[in-house]
Symmetry: D2
Subunit: 481 residues, 4 copies
């Protein structure tokens, strides 16, 4: 076998980072395998980001890092974890967006500064990055990546006279946008959620290992046997060291709570609970609400796998229309798929999804999906159902029409042709070829996540909870058109 070489690195301009998963664990037991725990935790959070993965571990003296492009399973193997010995660790999985697949942007970011060695992992998107970066550059800072994370670490480093907690708190006060952070030094672990609470972050406990755990979603706790304690509150910082855990409100001024509703609609895993509300349960209730809106007669309700499944079960329950499997998803179709030729595509090739004819033939079918962005995929699915014999196809969507771009971390660049921003519902129905089209109303969506409130619905109604600097907003629109 060829000599094991580290692969080359490329420096290219980049876009801001998108949805990600963060993880952190701090144990008082020196022999606790924090890197293996992080590995298992990142596995559970893999759905939040498949572009790159990284773990930084501290043995109390120094930090050791391993990062790579691709899935957790590809980036880490046994030898690597064996070399990452320590009882405290943080990890990160990053979302894949075209053109920014750079190892240099993989997280956590590790650096040495006035606080010693420090590692930071970030889920979210700042809206004042450029402004912060220019300020730092003007007073001598140097940047090697295009990530928000490097800006954050530089802000922390500038507070060289403050304690670590104060420095992190002061830095957090300078940030605008969404940020769930984990920060680690050789002997400290910090978890921090932005004042609006855009992205989830929760706290767990591993009693047997005298360990605290922080993760983007509670499903990560199950993967290491930890118990869920509570969600980190918007504007809260939890600080863990050998003296135990302390909680701070780092916030200098109150901010409107604005949890991203899309975590419930399709980001989070159904077995996670966010701010006390189970995701599967919320989706079933979206299905109930959709069923209330739906007025047609139908024979079968089927989900677009996998995210539509919970909603479809709720819909079936509330409507009495039987639930069945009408589409099979090929679990092996991934990012690197080679596309069929146009002439093959014209023949109606069915690679990712394939209909189950016995379920569909001669039936009036309700199909449940989570969103309609450009409408092209919905159109193909409906055509496929009809070819498999469906007599009627009724599309039900578990979210209102998306009409506005997101600046807080959802990759609206792949959602750039938002069909609902320029078309009426009836036009969309015709475009996708459905017999009927039902969008969940904003009121229905709000009911589905009751008793919780304080959500960001900006993509549905343009009510942006954190002000977006004009320039970023302009660029966004520029980019959209």
């Amino acid at each position: 076998m060829p000599e094991k070489l580290m692969q080359p690195e490329v420096w290219l301009p980049d876009k801001p980072e998108e949805a990600c998963g963060v993880f952190g664990v701090y144990s008082k037991q020196a022999d606790y395998g924090a890197s293996l725990a992080s590995y298992l935790g990142l596995y559970a959070l893999q759905h939040r980001g498949q572009e790159s993965a990284g773990i930084v571990v501290s043995d109390g003296q120094q930090l050791m890092t391993h990062k790579g492009m691709g899935l957790v399973a590809n980036v880490f193997h046994k030898d690597i974890l064996d070399n990452l010995q320590g009882a405290c660790a943080i990890g990160h999985v990053r979302y894949s967006t075209t053109g920014s697949s750079l190892l240099a942007n993989a997280q956590p970011l590790v650096a040495r500064c006035s606080k010693g060695a420090m590692a930071v992992a970030h889920n979210g998107n700042l809206v004042n990055t450029e402004e912060l970066r220019l300020g730092l550059e003007n007073s001598g800072s140097v940047f090697q990546t295009t990530t928000d994370t490097e800006v954050i670490i530089n802000l922390i480093a500038r507070h060289s006279q403050d304690t670590l907690a104060d420095a992190v708190g002061k830095a957090a006060n300078q940030l605008r946008g969404s940020f769930s952070l984990v920060v680690m030094t050789k002997d400290t672990l910090i978890g921090l959620r932005d004042p609006s609470g855009f992205r989830p972050l929760c706290l767990g406990r591993l009693e047997q290992n005298e360990a605290y755990v922080i993760a983007s979603e509670s499903c990560a706790f199950s993967s290491i046997g930890a118990k869920f304690i509570r969600d980190i509150k918007p504007g809260e910082m939890v600080y863990m060291d050998r003296h135990g855990l302390q909680s701070y409100q780092y916030l200098s001024e109150p901010v409107r709570k604005a949890v991203c509703i899309f975590e419930y609609i399709y980001f989070a895993r159904p077995d996670s609970a966010i701010d006390g509300l189970g995701v599967h349960q919320a989706r079933k209730k979206m299905g109930w609400e959709l069923a209330k809106q739906f007025t047609k007669a139908a024979d079968v309700v089927i989900p677009v796998p996998d995210t539509g499944r919970s909603t479809a079960i709720g819909f079936a329950e509330a409507s009495g229309i039987p639930f069945d499997i009408g589409l099979i998803k090929n679990p092996y179709v991934g990012r690197t798929f080679i596309q069929p030729t146009q002439s093959m595509r014209d023949l109606g090739v069915r690679i990712k999804l394939n209909p189950v004819e016995s379920v569909l033939a001669g039936k009036r079918v309700v199909i449940i999906d989570d969103t309609i962005v450009r409408g092209t995929t919905s159109g193909k699915i409906i055509k496929m159902l009809r070819e498999a014999g469906a007599k009627e196809v009724h599309m039900c969507v578990s979210a209102p029409p998306i009409t506005h771009p997101c600046y807080y971390g959802i990759d609206t660049s792949v959602r750039k042709e938002l069909i609902a921003s320029t078309h009426e519902v009836e036009e969309i129905r015709q475009y996708i070829g459905a017999d009927s089209l039902t969008y969940l109303t904003l009121a229905g969506l709000a009911r589905a996540v009751e008793p919780l409130s304080g959500f960001c619905y900006a993509c549905f109604n343009g009510d942006y909870p954190v002000e977006v600097p004009g320039k970023v907003a302009r660029n966004k629109y520029l980019f959209e058109e």
Copy 2:
């Protein structure tokens, strides 16, 4: 990037090959992209084998091959397919069994012999390989792999005076066991199913491309836009060249039909139909039959994902107990997963499967699985459900107890500790910790696949349709204990 080197190859003793998927396409249009079609077809058959993948294409003059270890997506990329130009191709995906992951054993196998260049791909397992191989060696044959496929190609080569169809037919008459074959020369494609019909093989048509297609399962046709024509019959050979398609009964003496029932229970994709019966439909009927056997009261029925899903829907339909999602499967956990430490495992880590507490808490739960082999996984799942709050757990299995090893291609070496071969049902129930345990009866299973008959049920009742030479049988038992 380092120079692109072909990776090394290792030669080690091997075990016979197991379940696989085969694909073949023959078009009269010289510019048809047979390799891309094979790629798409193998993608649809990926669930039948994840160890290695290979495609051989003919441009009418010569054969070109690409094979590699791993998933179709990893073995092929665009440049490779671009280099495999031709209108006729065969492909193969191979099942992963420990210790035999050898590139040398990847298929299709390509060789030059008295018939010119020839490629063969095989799904199945011969029981007289060793006997055939020794006979060939004694008259001068040389073997470079341990595969059945190489034996088959040597048998064909020995009939140097016969036509290709006759040579293949004569060779097939010498084989004992299960074999669905695709054979290709520079200008001919042959598909052939063993006389018992153990493994499926079906025929499709791409009218626009003047092409015939052969595949292990009909789901592969959807992926290239082909129409299903019919299943290849047990003992049938279909022969395609520029003159069109011809069908032969190659069989010299009649043989008992014995289609592997496990294709319906868990091998095949739910959207496939085998011998005219839809797999999803058959599984739903297994659920109906199970529901008839089930006598307890319960609040919810949940599947073990993904294979239990169809059966669970059928069970819910027939029993009136509501269907729900009680377990979430992490789709990213693959072969290369690094195991948690024992102390972590003792904490009940939930990596592949995680319960949805809101669905389970306080409920009497029916859980549907396809088989119980050793019982350890079932025990873990039931424990997990109870920890998530399930009040009762009733296990229902969509197959009778497995009491006998398989010699026709199911890898019983990973099923070597068949709990049902040495324990009563009540003992198994106690071992796995269920409140009740219901196995589908053989009669119920037979009803679920009606009106079809002629199945191999040997693993349930020891009635082996094709005689197994004593030595192989002894080895098998030796290996089992």
Copy 3:
């Protein structure tokens, strides 16, 4: 790191194999590390082939193989050698020729046949491969590669009633062309040189390890601490097993001895001795002979590194003209070098060779090279020397003009535009721009290798010692033009 996948394999038409190195070792001590010894031996023979490398080891029971594309250092690492346990092994390095870089063609070739498991490695080129292959195919043989080696192993396998020694001997009698072979079964090692002795093969002894060693060149013995015993004679087979070593004359009829003179001119390492004559010494004598032919006055003699060095020292000794280093070779320029653009090339880029101006400026320079094939490289070198200030450049070549293609293993496809086959010496001198051009005469060359005789000089005089079937010869010429 990504999952370690074996890399894909490609099947393409191929050309006959070229110059290679073979190695074999047999020890009576069961714990002798034969694979490590083979690794070290192949390292010493690396100059004979850089395309692929392979080792097969026997532990007395079974054969284990590792082969790969590239240099020995890239194909093998510690873990691989650790897994290749056994006291008997053979190895092979293969020459790199464009278009035939196929793992399938890497050697040794391992197969199971009537003699049990057998491994064969071959240095040379048969002229009757196609004829032998067709005969074998007609009686049922199957071929998976395009190598001579597979033909050889099939010939051996056909003699299923004979002892191994007889079978190998009978097979060898069917071969025409050049072949130095090592053959291994689980308990036997055989070394065999063709009747003409085209390629070298020698025998060594490791007394402390009760081991015999066979290698293409004696330099391989030094690398494992073995002592040179003697060269294997043309037409001799040495057979080693637990009873010791036996020598056979396998030849059924006498054949003219025809050792390839190019082994002395540039193939072999200067520290090797072939048939009793040291290669460095022979090259120095070529320099002496050249000096006798050279009639001009000159200030300095410089070699084209690395092969011209020994000859240049001999020339300096005999002529009294001082030896110096006038050209530096960049040792890092390898096969994968990216070529400069034409406009860069026009500027006279000096990548592989760079002149040392202080040695050349104002001097009358004699430059020593081993051969002139197409003349383009010579022309560039002479231009470079003049640009560095050389007043006169006298080219001296340590071989006569090459006028005929080789059929016995030298890759004349890269030598296809043999300038000397169509041009007079004076024309060549003008073409390369030298002030004088001196080719070593055939008589001078013969004197340089005295007291040895019985060489193949076919590429200089067309006197082919082994008849070349018409078809091969025609193809060759076809290919040449």
Copy 4:
């Protein structure tokens, strides 16, 4: 082929960087291929560093980088260079030292700061890195690597109010130790040599491409067809932009010139000239000086290849003892070589070097080497020569005894057991088993490089030209013992 993933990155503590090669090119022709030129230039400088290679190119708007571990040939391939379009580029090759093979430390380092995007490549070693770094950290800087280069870029970034030339000059004034730098922004190329001139740096010109070139050694100019203009002077900065080239003396106070003599002894390529003196010529003169010191009778003088060759030719010339090749070096033995077992080593395996018996048998041999560090290699070589029949072995070394560690960039950590720092010459002679041992005297060495003066001889006499902070010095000794 598997999906092309960027390989993982590891963060580990590191040692200061060692000898390297730097390259830079600036052309006014927008279509000049600066990355290909850098590739060719780095190829010529590969002997200065084999651990990693990198190129940063500017197209006038933005910088693009490619870096990787390993040789230039492995890090770059055609597609990569094609993507690095631009007329200005810098490149770097890094020396391989155990334990610090980190991609993160590969150069050039690229960052964005107050000067915009900037790339820096550094050959040398600072002695005040830690002091500078702490100062920067205390005022808020963040470090992501352990390289001197990152300190340098941060120093430049701090001068945000100055012009680029002033900022670079002010930063250079803060550095202590050795540094030959190339700095690039989107439209500027800077070359800079430290005030003592420890490491070489020279300026070339490509008239046809309106380009200036900077390189560690002049041999890099030949590889792209550029002409040597002159050496950059100690304390000089050359600044190139669209207005042409300007030279500055950036130095605020005069410093003693101290060119590293080891560049002449063994670092530099023989075809390079440094500060006007050809390296081959200097080595030949070292041979002349050694011959003057040598008083024994001998039959042949041989070099330890490759570095001893020039010196040996000089020795032969001056002494009249004939030059010959007594040792053959295997050019394929590289870094990843698997070591023979101890028992094999006891047999005297000869892997890297092998004697030519015909040259040595019965002879009194003078062997020329460049240095003796620990003496173990010398001992092995002498033993090998005696076993090959040498009657006497006289070792001549082209440098005085090394008695002091280097702080300016020579990796004395691999030279940590300096035999000459604790032993007399006679003791060393006995240890290595030579019949005589002659070290070149410091006076002789000085004569060999005449008419140049102003060298650093610290490793021979402890006279350190740039003060080494106590702590670094202590660490060094600590590390040494």
